[in-house]
């Protein structure tokens, strides 16, 4: 930001940040009707009288959505409430077909959770105030139509998609911490298959509450709500901008206004969306069309038992069980898929450390280069384990191993087949090497004589010739020994 505030001034302040994250639950159907939640279908093709809010229709809760939301609550160490309740949040907008959004208000699904983030080598626990369920709104399309200057189109496909809103405590102090929190939260939700967390498709959205105060002050400053922080990059940039804006204002003796601000991606700044005076009165009241959501101990236990291992637990286990470094454990557990892949390779007999090296090096690099895809689709875990075994046993060189890997990645063929077909096998047959050395000695009587006359430098010449003749596949140690022995006569 071109605020021109000096680093000294910035350093005198501390930011207080809380995030409100909306994640789309990974259900096949919407939260209150049977319509599909599929992304990218033709506009208004996944709609019915219920999600269009036609007069007389009623919502019926999708049990799977409740299960996923409870799973998320448990993963975030939150207290799942035995009895929670939907409420109506009333406001007018064309993307809201009933004139109210069904959400949870005074009785949320879960409260008092936390999530640990690792930052600068330090572990910090971020409180989670509440987690509640709600329905998504439709999508207003203001651009892209011939009459977009005069008309807005509305696609109701997204309307009624189940969401969880996860509200953090104001425990975050820097944009980087906020980013780490969002990354950890995203990874957790992906891991437990509660959400795709696809920010481009809008299945993960983030708003922030931001205030600043002079360091050492006990009291929070006036906060603003910043909306539309829908990528990791924008999150950090928008928070930086907003923090500096607030500091600059305070430095000039101004007051911070409590308001909702919108992150303008193109302009790279936050802008006033509505002030406190114009804040909506949502007139929340309990949704009379739905019964309270009751989650008893038995159901909670079932959901808990179906819970996949969480990322933090997996990282710890990788260190303890496979002897990996913390760094390796973090890289390998970045996604559940990669972690599962690593475990499959190790399970197929590869040494864990070697498996980690191959995956973090060759595999991730090639996956990234090819812009693809699931690792197991390119190389079956057992095949990677087989390749690692060949290299470890010295059957082929590490250099050959990388070339074999490349071929496996491209063709999907088994390691053994590629090694055999393309002659990558290292020659360790002493008879074969002896035959080659003798051939060369016959071809080079002069050099043989030189060696025998005491010029030991010629040895290197002979080794080089053998390696060339075997296209580098001869076992170098064996070649050395054989050359020495035969030259000695």
């Amino acid at each position: 930001m071109e605020s021109g505030i000096s680093p000294d001034v910035l350093a005198r302040y501390e930011a207080i940040i809380g995030l409100e994250v909306h994640a789309q639950l990974k259900t096949a159907s919407k939260i209150f009707c049977a319509c599909s939640t599929r992304f990218g279908d033709p506009p208004n093709s996944n709609v019915c009288p219920v999600c269009l809010g036609l007069p007389g229709t009623l919502p019926v809760i999708n049990r799977r959505a409740v299960e996923l939301a409870v799973r998320a609550s448990l993963a975030l160490n939150a207290q799942v409430q035995e009895r929670s309740r939907f409420a109506r949040k009333n406001y007018f907008y064309p993307d809201l077909p009933k004139g109210y959004q069904i959400s949870m208000y005074e009785l949320p699904l879960a409260t008092a959770g936390w999530l640990e983030i690792e930052f600068d080598g330090q572990v910090k626990r971020i409180g989670i105030t509440r987690l509640h369920m709600e329905e998504d709104a439709a999508k207003a399309l203001h651009e892209g139509f011939p009459d977009s200057d005069r008309a807005t189109y509305i696609d109701y496909n997204r309307c009624g998609t189940p969401l969880v809103e996860i509200v953090s405590e104001p425990d975050l102090r820097t944009p980087a911490e906020a980013q780490a929190y969002l990354e950890e939260l995203k990874q957790t939700l992906e891991y437990i298959e509660v959400s795709d967390c696809n920010m481009e498709e809008g299945s993960l959205r983030c708003d922030a509450n931001v205030s600043v105060r002079p360091r050492g002050d006990g009291k929070f400053g006036t906060k603003t709500e910043v909306k539309n922080l829908n990528s990791f990059r924008y999150l950090a940039r928008a928070l930086e901008y907003e923090i500096e804006r607030q500091i600059a204002a305070l430095e000039q003796g101004e007051r911070i206004l409590q308001e909702t601000r919108l992150w303008n991606v193109a302009a790279g700044r936050t802008e006033t969306m509505r002030s406190k005076e114009h804040a909506h009165d949502y007139r929340y009241f309990p949704e009379p069309d739905l019964l309270p959501v009751m989650i008893d101990a038995v159901w909670k236990q079932e959901i808990l038992e179906a819970m996949p291992e969480l990322p933090a637990a997996k990282r710890k286990r990788f260190v303890a069980e496979y002897g990996l470094t913390g760094y390796d454990a973090r890289v390998l557990s970045a996604t559940r898929e990669l972690a599962d892949y690593f475990e499959a390779v190790a399970g197929a007999g590869a040494a864990a450390k070697s498996a980690a090296n191959w995956i973090e090096g060759e595999l991730l690099r090639r996956l990234k280069e090819s812009g693809s895809a699931t690792p197991a689709e390119r190389i079956a875990p057992a095949e990677l384990a087989a390749l690692i075994g060949r290299v470890e046993s010295g059957e082929i060189t590490a250099a050959s191993g990388k070339r074999v890997f490349a071929r496996m990645f491209e063709t999907g063929e088994p390691a053994a087949k590629i090694i055999e077909a393309e002659g990558f096998g290292q020659i360790s047959d002493s008879g074969e090497i002896e035959r080659v050395v003798r051939e060369i000695m016959e071809r080079e009587p002069g050099n043989v004589a030189k060696y025998r006359a005491g010029n030991e430098g010629v040895l290197k010449f002979f080794v080089g010739q053998v390696m060339r003749a075997t296209r580098g596949q001869a076992n170098p140690q064996l070649v050395n020994e054989t050359v020495k022995r035969l030259l000695a006569g």
């Binding site: 036609l54 007069p55 007389g56 229709t57 007018f92 064309p94 004139g99 929340y284």
Partner: protein, 481 residues
């Protein structure tokens, strides 16, 4: 078939099976009655001849095949216009939904048609069921067939008038604070409000979601029992519909009433009640005693707060329920330059005065700073009123009260005084708040010949008892007391 022939569900089914009449003839006959009478009464807002004839032909083919006829075979049915009917205009008596045709049927309508009923058309009502006289309809008031200068009651005035005038054999009404029972009383027909949750609300256009109920309005209590048997029961489309087993009401109503304890709450016989109504209801209670019922006095101390409680809760919910009529997706849109102006003009011209009044009342009651004092307080009082009923049902099997403090009043008599109109709901809103079932059954007539209604309340899901007592009362000549 003569004009004044009062057909019944069982009678029609028997006549069809015996081939004394065909379903097609029935539809034709009712069509001609409607053509003749409706211009004067204004009971129907829309007719659905294609659908009625198609259903009639289906029934007639069953008769031809000698198939077992469904329980409501050939029943000429009217449906209140706040209930969704696929492809048939459903305006809720409002300008804002002029021309709106739902793409789906309400569960109750679907079940009635599956049971053989023939939907003749949609009946007039107060706009979005808000009113007690049917004068709040955007499509003009309905006249009471008993006394054409008087209101038929509301909000299900069109349904009551259609049945009472012989323009349908049965009708669906909806009851939020008395909208089935009071017009039943004014027009002199039995009209049942089932327990909240007994009948699916799916397709009932919401006025006040925690109070709205669909109920049958019929010529006889037995017909009400037959209709309830079809529409009652859990519906996967309505989370608030109960999975409580459904009685065989048609069999239950034949059981003895002698020995039943009938509670008479003192609070329902206070000031403001018309003297003739009081006399008729007392005569009705005396008749029940002659049938062997035991009169017990009960107290319902929170009755005085019912009107205020009802109007806070009902308007609060209405303010939210009616937000969807914004001109964006269906119904009427008043074009304007901006979104806010479009909303204002659409809702400003689309809604009538009473609907706007209630939206404003409800919006106020839910607003920050007032929510606790109004909405939350009203919910607490609602619990107390429900407890009154619970305690009364410890002493009595059923409660008996007047349905309305007065008989049908004159058209225009109360339109300038909304508060007087609200206060007339005094005897019906209590049962609405408590969620219990209640029926209004004809209980004699005033000197001028205006029908009086006797209201019977029962415990939750005891429609069997309510209908049993009402049936015995009707058979013993209750309408003549």
């Amino acid at each position: 078939m003569t004009n004044d022939a009062r057909l019944t569900v069982a009678g029609i089914r028997a006549d069809l099976a015996a081939k004394k009449i065909s379903a097609r003839e029935l539809v034709t006959e009712y069509r001609s009655r409607i053509d003749r009478e409706n211009p004067g009464l204004n009971a129907y807002l829309a007719l659905s001849p294609e659908r009625a004839f198609a259903q009639a032909d289906r029934i007639d083919r069953m008769v031809e095949r000698g198939a077992e006829l469904p329980p409501l075979a050939g029943l000429p049915l009217a449906v209140k216009d706040v209930i969704a009917t696929r492809g048939i205009p459903t305006t809720c008596g409002s300008r804002i939904l002029e021309g709106y045709r739902p793409p789906y049927d309400a569960t109750a309508v679907e079940r009635l048609e599956q049971a053989g009923a023939m939907v003749l058309g949609k009946t007039n009502c107060d706009e979005f069921a808000m009113g007690s006289s049917n004068e709040n309809s955007a499509y003009g008031p309905v006249r009471n067939p008993v006394a054409p200068d008087r209101v038929p009651g509301g909000s299900s005035g069109g349904s009551a008038a259609a049945v009472a005038a012989g323009l349908a054999v049965a009708a669906l009404g909806t009851d939020t604070g008395g909208s089935v029972r009071q017009p039943g009383a004014f027009c002199g027909i039995p009209a049942l409000m089932p327990t909240y949750g007994r009948v699916s609300r799916y397709g009932l256009v919401a006025f006040a979601s925690s109070l709205d109920r669909i109920g049958p309005m019929t010529n006889t209590v037995a017909d009400a029992a037959a209709l309830l048997g079809v529409i009652a029961g859990h519906d996967p489309h309505d989370a608030t519909s109960a999975a409580v087993p459904v009685h065989d009401y048609t069999a239950e109503i034949e059981k003895r009433v002698a020995g039943l304890r009938i509670g008479v709450p003192r609070e329902y016989f206070g000031e403001g009640m018309d003297a003739e109504v009081r006399a008729k209801v007392e005569a009705g209670i005396a008749l029940l005693e002659r049938l062997g019922c035991r009169r017990v006095e009960v107290e319902m101390p929170h009755t005085d707060y019912a009107i205020a409680t009802y109007y806070v809760i009902a308007t609060a919910e209405a303010s939210s329920n009616l937000a969807r009529y914004d001109g964006v997706r269906y119904g009427v849109r008043a074009p304007a330059d901006s979104l806010a102006a479009m909303y204002r003009k659409t809702r400003g011209t689309g809604f009538g005065a009473e609907v706007k009044r209630r939206i404003m009342l409800g919006t106020y009651a839910l607003s920050t700073g007032y929510y606790e004092a109004y909405y939350l307080k009203a919910q607490k009082v609602r619990t107390l009123i429900a407890r009154d009923f619970q305690q009364a049902f410890e002493k009595a099997d059923l409660l008996v009260t007047p349905t309305s403090p007065t008989p049908a009043f004159r058209l225009g008599e109360r339109t300038t005084d909304p508060l007087a109109m609200y206060l007339a709901d005094i005897y019906t809103v209590t049962g609405s708040l408590a969620g219990v079932p209640g029926i209004s059954v004809p209980c004699g007539r005033t000197a001028e010949g205006l029908p009086v209604g006797l209201q019977i309340f029962g415990p939750h899901f005891r429609e069997d008892l309510v209908l049993r007592l009402a049936h015995a009362f009707e058979r013993a000549g209750g309408s003549q007391v």
